[in-house]
Amino acid sequence: MNTIEEKLWNYIDGTCTPAEQEAIARLIEEDALYKQKYTELLELNQEFADMDLDEPSMAFSYNVMEAIRAEQLAPLKSTINKKIILGIAAFFVLSILILLGIILSSIKISGNLFSGLDLKLPSNVKLPSASSIFNSTLMKSFFVFDVILALFLTDSYLRRKKAAKEA
């Protein structure tokens, strides 16, 4: 069952049926307790309606727009990086395939297939030693190229990041 206050709040909010509305209006007119409570709640209702809203900092809307701009620039990074990574991957896969092709074309297979395979490297193919690989000029220049490439990519990544912040 509704209390007096509950009935009066419903009346003030206008959430009761027309019949209830009429009955409560009559009670307010005739009953001193209802009248007193009604006046009290009406004042309180006005006080609640007049409450102040809090104010965010001056830079609030600017900060929101900055956050949105920074988020929008993010996808650009991934597209550029993806192409570079795919290019490097393609270069290595191609090199491995060419090397594999050369080796397989030089292999001679002799004897019956069921008696086992006699796989021998051709006499003219000599495997280089590990020390000669790492000391060769070609390898050194390859490492230098890698370092320069890494520096270039890092620099462009940082520049883009800085530009995104400043935008």
């Binding site: 959430t15 609640f48 900092s57 809307s61 956050a67 988020e71």
Partner: protein
Amino acid sequence: MQSKLSDIELIEQTLAGNQFAYADLVKRHQRFVFTLAMRFAKGREDAEEIAQDCFVKAYRSLASFQGQSKFTTWLYSIVYTTAMTFLRKKRVDTDSIDDEGTFVQVESHESAYDTNNVENKSRSYYLNQAIEQLLPDDATIITLFYKGEQSLEEIAQTMGIETNTVKVKLFRARQRLKEKLERNLKHEVKELI
């Protein structure tokens, strides 16, 4: 100076690529969104973080806003969800969210440092103080109803609950607010005597 265009017109312009239109939308609603965030965060820095996060989320999903409800109802539901997630992230579990003691601590802390007397404080000061002592859900319902121009149905949509539940919660929230307001005023009068 804020734009005189309606929320829907500003949304349309934003979707067409005009970021200034969204900035206008932010300026128009920032005070209310920030106030709602304050009901949960109890600190300006955290409240600004929540409010900012809400506007960024709203921008991201602006295209999905169908216009079937008011923009504010849609925006406030984002605020409510974000604020609830924020509370969970802050490791305040459900028990302590519902525990009024957590917020009474805020009250006693504030009153301990309060050196002004009752004559210097306006009635709205006591009202704000009492709202700060309410549970987040109670404070949110009261703020949405009185300052957000939201009907009971819209509040139900924002908070993801039944309209009748909102009605009951609003009644209880008003009762608690009234009690706290009276208690705070009595406390101040006693201190003066």
